[in-house]
Structure formats: structure tokens, C-alpha cells
């Protein structure tokens, strides 16, 4: 078990002035699951892209099974026995599973022989690794977990001995993730080597044999998983001690601030994404909405905040109804005390090419503080932005810097500062810590709890179950557009996981 599958020696890579990987030395032993953890921008993806041939290293060697190899493109990677399962699946959605697996390995112009061979090989692979997928199913109709299995099969079909999985659990329910882990263990037991990239430390502890921690382009430590702990890994990742558990006192909910009644919302294609949803959020409590991405949470909060028209139903803000299916206007709702930190800060919460100060007024651009008649009051906008940057420790503290040049955590703080500093009564947080580094997560969670303690009504939507459980006083679980259960903040992970997978209600198959 001590043979080396992959050895990286002195890998160095820069993009312009950004030094993404510095002198990386990494040894992955054959037949192990090797975790690579690090914050966003630590250089994990760059390193794996070098290993898979998307980029060439500026310096350094790659050794596969002890032999030096040149990996110029993904074909060379495959030839060296390296397969990759991307975070965003590289599947043709309207192909069958079999067609996807064959793609790029069709053998001949006429497909018949290739199809027969692929079907045979697929059958063997399925039996060997317990990877069940119907080869004739249309890919887009499969659940996400199965699509991921197709990706894994694709790599195995090409003869991969070393599998790289990039953030594989981001899109999975807890039970699907468990299933994936069983598959990975099976693969390891059959002698495959797996590199598992993630930012979720608990998964690293659960599945890996060894773990390497990256920070600022360097590998700062490699540990036997059994010899380390979540706290130690977090400290290595961030470079200082971090509080992973959210510290919060009892909630003291008071009157209802936000009430949603029988809300039904369609998406652009006319598919009903939110089905007859009702709930209420009271002052001084945090209500969390758990669920796997794509079960209607996005549409729900967009409808509440006036961005998306609802088909029917009612939203009552501070006792007064909002016309959610008619003329609801995000700007007017803001004036009425509803603040919204959107799920997707890149496409909604921020305009990335803007200066920071310009983003600090997004949504409040008609506010008398920021304008003189038709003109922007740039002096007021910039000094206001500067103050917020100081209070929220946004770095670098330059209101004129382009927003795209801030890190994910600092970008999220820009949005947070903008929305929280208006002292709203109702706050909606969509994925408050998505793509945010561990240090900033702690900061953001503290702020959210401060808002609750200040008597605000807080609604949090997140696909991170840990986050929902850590923050919420009450938890609602969404599945297929409906609220399928309500639990208190102490609910167990398994219980919520089952609800998220839609298996609670007996008899009503989803």
C-alpha cells in the first residue's frame, strides 16, 4: 500500500502576477483516498487542472506510478490513467448514459461495434464497483447523484486508475453523498487511487486516508486523516484559530414580521417551482430553509423579495400584503424594510465590473443620501462605502477598486454590509456563505445571529445542512417545491437528510 500513484515535484504556476501554485510537492499513495482541502483561491483547482492537462506548470515534474510524464492535454492525462469528475458535470444532457460514456471514445465512424463494446464494458464496471446506472436512460432525467455516477463511469471506461473528484458533494443530498462515499471506498478497495478535493472538512474526516491542506498556493501540511481533527485542519487552512460552531443563545421570537401564504411560483420555462408554500417568520428568530439545490428555494426567495412574479398566493410584510403576482418592486420592498442577500452574488447581488462603492448602493441608487437630483453624489457614495468597508473589515479597503478583484468572502461582505447597514426589519439570506472562505463564514454567521438578537426576522436559505442546523431556530425542509417538514433547530442530520430526499411522506412518491 505504500507504492506511489502520483508524485508532484516542485510544481509552480503563475497567471500573470497571480502566483497560483508555489513549489508544490505532493505524494499520493496508490490505493488510497487522498483529500485536498483549502479555501477558495488556495490553488486546489489550479493544481488539479495542471494534473489533468488544462494548464501547463511553469516549473516542476509530474510522476505517475514513478515515471515522469508530460501532461499537455486531457488526452495525455487519460493515457496516463488519470480521470477527472468535474464539479459541474461535463455531460451532454440529452444523450443517453451510454452515449455520454462513449463520447470521445467512439472507436470508429460507424457506432454499432463501439456501442456493443461500451455496453459490455459498462456491465462489467457496474458489477465490479456497484455503480448502478441504466445505460439507456436520458442523462438529464437522472437524479444528480446518478449523473455523477455517469461521470465516474466515464472516467473508468477510459481506463482511469487515478480519479480526481472536484467538490463532488456540492450538489448531492446527504444520502446521495453517503452513497458516493460507499462507491469511493469500493473503488479504493479495488486498488484505484482517489484524489478528493473539497472544502468540507467533515467529509475529509469521513472518507480520506490522508489529507493535504493548501493555503495561498502552497501545501502547508499533509496528515494521516486518523491523526488529525477538523479543528486542526481548519486552523491550517485559514492560518489562525477559527470558530467552526456557531455560538448563539436562545431565541425570543415575538410578533410575526413576514408571512407567506399559499405561494405558487413558476420559473421562466413555466415549470412550477414553488407549490403552495406557507410559513411565517417572527421578529427575533432565524428560520432556515433546507433542501437540495433546485427544489424551489431560489424561486421562493426571489418571489418574496419582488424579483420574480408569483403565480398566486400572498406575502405579508409587517402586516401589509405585497402584491407578489403584480407590481411588487424590489426597490419599494427595500424601502419597507426588507433586505435581501441574494444567493448568487455574481449575477444578482453585485455588478462585478463596478467599483466597490458603486456596488455599495446597488438597489439604493435612488436614495436621497446618494443622489443630487439626477446626479450621483460620488463624494457621499464613496465615503459611505469607505466607512462600511472599515466596519466589515473588507479588504483591501479601497472603495474604488473593481469588485471582481475582491475575494469571494470580501465580496459577500460587501453585499452584507449594504443590506444589514440599512437596519431592515426582515432579512433574507440566500446561501450566505457560498464560495466564502472559512474565516469569513465565521464573521457572516455572527452577523446573522446579531441581527436576530436585535429583534429582526431572519430567513436563511442554504444547501449546506451544517449551516442551516447551526443558525436556525426553526428549520423548514423544501423538496420539489413544497415544504415537506418543519423541525426545530436541534433536528438531527439524518432526519433532515431524509426529508430533503423527499422520503418522509409515505405513499406520495415524488
Amino acid at each position: 500500500m505504500s507504492e506511489t500513484a502520483i508524485a508532484l515535484k516542485g510544481i509552480d504556476k503563475s497567471f500573470g502576477s497571480v502566483h497560483a501554485n508555489r513549489n508544490i510537492n505532493l505524494t499520493v499513495r496508490k490505493g488510497t483516498i487522498h483529500g485536498i482541502v483549502g479555501e477558495n483561491g488556495a490553488g486546489k483547482s489550479t493544481l488539479m487542472s495542471i494534473l489533468y492537462g488544462f494548464y501547463q506548470a511553469d516549473a516542476g515534474d509530474i510522476l505517475v506510478n514513478g515515471e515522469k510524464v508530460e501532461i499537455r492535454d486531457s488526452n495525455a492525462a487519460i493515457a496516463a490513467g488519470i480521470g477527472m469528475v468535474h464539479q459541474h458535470f461535463m455531460l451532454v444532457e440529452n444523450f443517453t448514459v451510454l452515449e455520454n460514456i462513449m463520447l470521445g471514445a467512439e472507436d470508429r465512424q460507424v457506432l454499432n461495434a463501439g456501442i456493443a463494446r461500451a455496453r459490455r464494458t459498462l456491465k462489467e464496471l457496474e458489477e465490479e464497483y456497484a455503480l448502478q446506472v441504466d445505460p439507456d436512460a436520458i442523462t438529464e432525467q437522472l437524479p444528480v447523484g446518478s449523473q455523477q455516477r455517469v461521470e465516474i463511469l466515464k472516467a473508468l471506461y477510459r481506463g482511469a486508475d487515478i480519479l480526481i473528484l472536484d467538490e463532488p458533494t456540492g450538489v448531492l443530498t446527504p444520502s446521495e453523498a453517503d452513497h458516493l462515499f460507499r462507491i469511493l471506498e469500493q473503488l479504493r478497495n479495488q486498488g484505484k487511487t482517489i484524489i478528493f478535493i473539497t472544502h468540507k472538512l467533515r467529509e475529509v474526516m469521513a472518507i480520506t486516508d490522508e489529507v493535504s491542506v493548501m493555503r495561498r498556493g502552497e501545501i502547508v501540511a499533509t496528515k494521516e486523516t486518523s491523526q488529525t481533527s477538523v479543528d486542526e485542519l481548519a486552523e491550517l487552512m485559514v492560518g489562525r484559530r477559527v470558530l467552526l460552531r456557531v455560538d448563539k443563545g436562545e431565541s425570543t421570537p415575538r410578533e410575526t414580521r413576514l408571512e407567506v401564504k399559499n405561494l405558487t411560483v413558476d420559473d421562466e420555462r413555466g415549470v412550477t417551482m414553488v407549490k403552495d408554500v406557507s410559513f411565517a417568520v417572527r421578529a427575533g428568530e432565524i428560520v432556515g430553509i433546507a433542501g437540495v439545490a433546485g427544489n424551489g428555494q431560489s424561486e421562493l426567495i426571489e418571489a418574496i423579495s419582488g424579483i420574480r412574479r408569483a403565480r398566486s398566493g400572498e406575502v405579508i410584510l409587517e402586516g401589509e400584503p405585497i402584491s407578489v403576482s403584480g407590481e411588487a418592486d424590489p426597490r419599494r420592498l427595500r424601502a419597507r424594510g426588507l433586505a435581501h442577500v441574494p444567493e448568487d452574488r455574481h449575477h444578482m447581488g453585485l455588478v462585478l465590473p463596478f467599483e466597490e462603492s458603486e456596488n455599495a448602493i446597488l438597489g439604493y441608487q435612488t436614495d436621497a443620501r446618494y443622489v443630487n437630483g439626477a446626479f450621483l453624489n460620488l463624494g457621499a457614495i464613496r465615503s459611505d462605502a469607505g466607512e462600511k468597508m472599515e466596519r466589515y473589515d473588507i479588504r483591501p479597503p479601497d472603495p474604488r477598486l473593481k469588485t471582481a478583484n475582491f475575494s469571494g468572502g470580501n465580496q459577500q461582505k460587501i453585499v452584507l454590509a449594504r443590506e444589514i447597514e440599512r437596519d431592515p426589519e426582515v432579512l433574507i439570506f440566500g446561501q450566505p456563505t457560498r464560495g466564502v472562505d472559512v474565516g469569513a463564514i465565521e464573521f457572516i454567521h455572527k452577523r446573522i445571529i446579531e441581527m436576530r438578537d436585535a429583534g429582526k426576522a431572519v430567513l436563511v436559505v442554504s444547501v449546506e445542512l451544517d449551516e442551516i442546523r447551526g443558525l436556525s431556530d426553526r428549520i423548514l425542509v423544501m423538496f420539489d417545491g413544497r415544504i415537506v417538514g418543519e423541525r426545530d433547530g436541534e433536528a438531527g442530520e439524518n432526519e433532515l437528510g431524509l426529508l430533503m430526499a423527499g422520503v418522509e411522506e409515505e405513499g406520495t412518491a415524488a
Binding site: 497567471f15 424590489p330 419599494r332 420592498l333 444578482m348 462585478l352 448602493i361 446597488l362 438597489g363
Partner: protein
């Protein structure tokens, strides 16, 4: 790893990169001249001398540049809202009606400086009206402005033929054009400005519209970067999602932006109709609307970039005319090819040299930093 190329310093982004693009365009154009059996150096010399070598040439260069500033600004304003207005040609053409109405109505009664503001308002109004319909269709019906504005160019063309043949042509005249405006419909030249520099403007139609164009550059800058409307326009241009989130009325911004764009294109008509020909003629826009696209691309949609880009195309127009005059092998069509090459390299292929330039700068920057702070360790 999301940005494979490092950001360029501002001077490289706005000066060096366009310069490299233009130089390459001229090198390739030189090859074309060589293939036609002439000396590229001689052609280049003719072009520069024709455009800058004497007062009248400079006058013509700036006269053409005036056209391109207007149409370039028109395209640029729409670009900031991520609308691709390729209907500047038609909007400028229809803007000519506004100029003609003002001049034909007032020219015999009042001096030019009374007619001029009316003509500005009417040309802008007609241009805006011509852009309003595509803007409305985009905002309310989702019909893409690229399709509708180009179709409106053809409609404008037919409309103008009809008007000039049946409505605006004086009785008994042979040519499809209006009568010549009297003095009150003629804009003064800026010949005195060239004379200040000791140049002889000759008969160049370089006129006061040039100053209006510069004023418009300033106003466009104010509009886009200093007003609330400009803020909302840019928000929508960069991100529809963010605009919806911010409660920005998308339809209103799209329609108004298209109208402002059309108004700027419409004002181009002043330069030719009131400043040069003193009558409304067929096809007076002569491609300036399309050149505006290249000018806006090259000028990075910023007024300070648009002015030099417009002057460059003024050089190509004026100097190109000189080349075809002095070098019979180089026909007028060849000049169009050369202009096309500049558009190709400066506009369409503007990113071709960016990666090389960026990595060169990255290397320089890194080595400089490493020298400055060898053990800083961030």
C-alpha cells in the same frame, strides 16, 4: 484561476493595445497595397500627407471625424447597456429630416444661430424616434435590436428616397434633394480655428458641428458615469440579474438608452446637411453609421477613446481619398479594404494580442516585485 490573464495597466489597455492593433492593421494593409503592385510606404506617406499635410486636408479629416464622433458615441451609449445599436446609419439618415425641416422653415428669416438649436433638437428628435421603435420592440417584445435596427436602416433608406423624390424635392428640379438652404440654414466653418495655427482651410467643410460633437462627448461622459440614469444603464448593461435585484425598470432603461443613442446618431446629420451641402441629399450618411461601430469598439466606448478613434477614421477617409487620387492602381474599393482591415484588427480582433501583452506585463511585474521584496512572503 478564474482570470487566466492578468489585468493590464491602464495605459497599456487604452493606449498600447489599440496602438499595436492599428500598427498590425496597417502592416496587413501594406501587404494588400504590395499585392496591387504599389509601394506601401508611398501609399502610407500619401495618406498621412493627405490627412495632415496641409490645412484643407486637416479640415476634411476633422470634418469626417465629426461624423464618426456622433455615430461612435451613439454606439457607445448603447454598448454600456449591452445593446448593439447597428442602426446608426438609418438614425442619422432620418435625423437629416429634422435638420432639413428646421433649415427649410427658418433659413430665410433668422440667422444660423437661431436655426442651429432648432435643428439640433429636431435632428436628435428624429434620430431618437427612429431608435425608439427598435428599443420598444426589444424592451416589450424581446425582438433583438441587432435585427430590428439593421432592418430600420433599410426602411430609413426607402423612406428617404420617397420623401426626397415626392415631398422635399422642389418642383421642376431634377435631382432628388431639397433646395439649397439660404444663409440662415448654413453653419459657419471653423476655418478660423485652423488659421490660428497658420493653416489654410481651403474649401474644407470643417464646421461648428465639430464643437457640438465635443460637447456631446462631455455630456455622454456625464450621463454614463455621473448620473443615476447612467448608473442604472450600466447596471443593466453588465448584469440583468443585478438590475432586477436592484429594482431597475428594465424596459424603461432600454427604451431611453436606444432613444439617446438614436438622438446622438441623428445629430450627425447636422454636419453634412447644414455644415457642408446645405441641402438634404440621398445617401449623405455614406457609411458613417457603421464606422461608428468600429469607432466605439476601438475607443472602448469611452468619449476620450472615441475622439482619437474618430480622428483615425477621419484620416482613413481623407487620406484614403488622396491615395486613390494619386495612385491609380489603388482604387476606391482598395481603400475600403484597408478601412475594413483596421476595423477587423482594432474592433473584431481587439483581443488577439491581449494574452501575449498580459503575460509580458505579468512577467515584468513579477520580476520587479521579486526584486523589491524577496522575502516578504505576503
Amino acid at each position: 484561476m478564474s482570470t487566466p490573464y492578468a489585468k493590464l495597466p491602464a495605459w497599456a489597455e487604452y493606449v498600447l493595445l489599440p496602438f499595436v492593433n492599428v500598427v498590425v492593421a496597417f502592416l496587413v494593409a501594406g501587404l494588400v497595397v504590395l499585392l496591387a503592385g504599389d509601394s506601401p510606404l508611398h501609399a502610407f506617406q500619401l495618406m498621412i500627407e493627405g490627412a495632415f499635410g496641409y490645412g484643407e486636408g486637416i479640415g476634411y479629416t476633422l470634418y469626417y471625424a465629426t461624423n464618426f464622433i456622433f455615430t461612435g458615441l451613439a454606439v457607445a451609449v448603447a454598448f454600456h447597456c449591452s445593446l448593439f445599436n447597428i442602426g446608426g446609419e438609418g438614425q442619422a439618415y432620418v435625423g437629416g429630416i429634422g435638420v432639413a425641416i428646421a433649415a427649410l422653415w427658418l433659413d430665410r428669416f433668422v440667422p444660423w444661430w437661431v436655426t442651429f438649436p432648432v435643428a439640433i433638437a429636431l435632428s436628435a428628435g428624429f434620430g431618437a424616434l427612429w431608435a425608439f421603435i427598435p428599443g420598444y420592440l426589444q424592451a416589450k417584445r424581446g425582438s433583438h435590436v441587432v435585427i430590428t435596427t439593421i432592418m430600420f436602416n433599410f426602411i430609413a433608406s426607402s423612406l428617404m428616397v420617397y420623401l426626397l423624390v415626392h415631398v422635399l424635392k422642389p418642383v421642376g428640379a431634377m435631382a432628388p434633394q431639397t433646395r439649397t438652404f439660404a444663409e440662415g440654414g448654413q453653419l459657419p466653418t471653423l476655418g478660423w480655428l485652423l488659421k490660428l495655427f497658420g493653416l489654410n482651410p481651403g474649401i474644407a467643410p470643417f464646421n461648428i458641428t465639430f464643437l457640438l460633437a465635443l460637447v456631446m462627448c462631455f455630456l455622454v461622459w456625464v450621463l454614463v458615469w455621473r448620473t443615476r440614469f447612467g448608473y442604472e444603464l450600466r447596471t443593466l448593461g453588465f448584469s440583468r440579474g443585478a438590475a432586477r435585484y436592484a429594482g431597475i425598470n428594465e424596459a424603461k432603461i432600454i427604451i431611453l438608452t436606444m432613444m439617446i443613442s438614436g438622438a446622438l446618431a441623428g445629430m450627425m446629420a447636422l454636419n453634412n446637411v447644414m455644415g457642408d451641402q446645405f441641402r438634404l441629399q440621398l445617401d449623405f450618411v455614406n457609411g458613417a453609421g457603421f464606422v461608428g461601430i468600429a469607432v466605439a469598439l476601438m475607443g472602448r466606448s469611452h468619449p476620450l477613446g472615441i475622439i482619437p478613434a474618430a480622428i483615425l477614421f477621419g484620416v482613413l477617409y481623407q487620406g484614403g481619398a488622396e491615395i486613390s487620387f494619386d495612385m491609380p492602381e489603388i482604387s476606391r474599393d482598395m481603400i475600403v479594404i484597408i478601412q475594413g482591415l483596421v476595423i477587423l484588427f482594432a474592433g473584431a480582433l481587439e483581443n488577439m494580442f491581449r494574452p501575449a501583452l498580459a503575460s509580458a506585463f505579468g512577467r515584468i511585474g513579477r520580476s520587479r516585485r521579486d526584486v523589491a521584496a524577496p522575502a516578504a512572503g505576503e
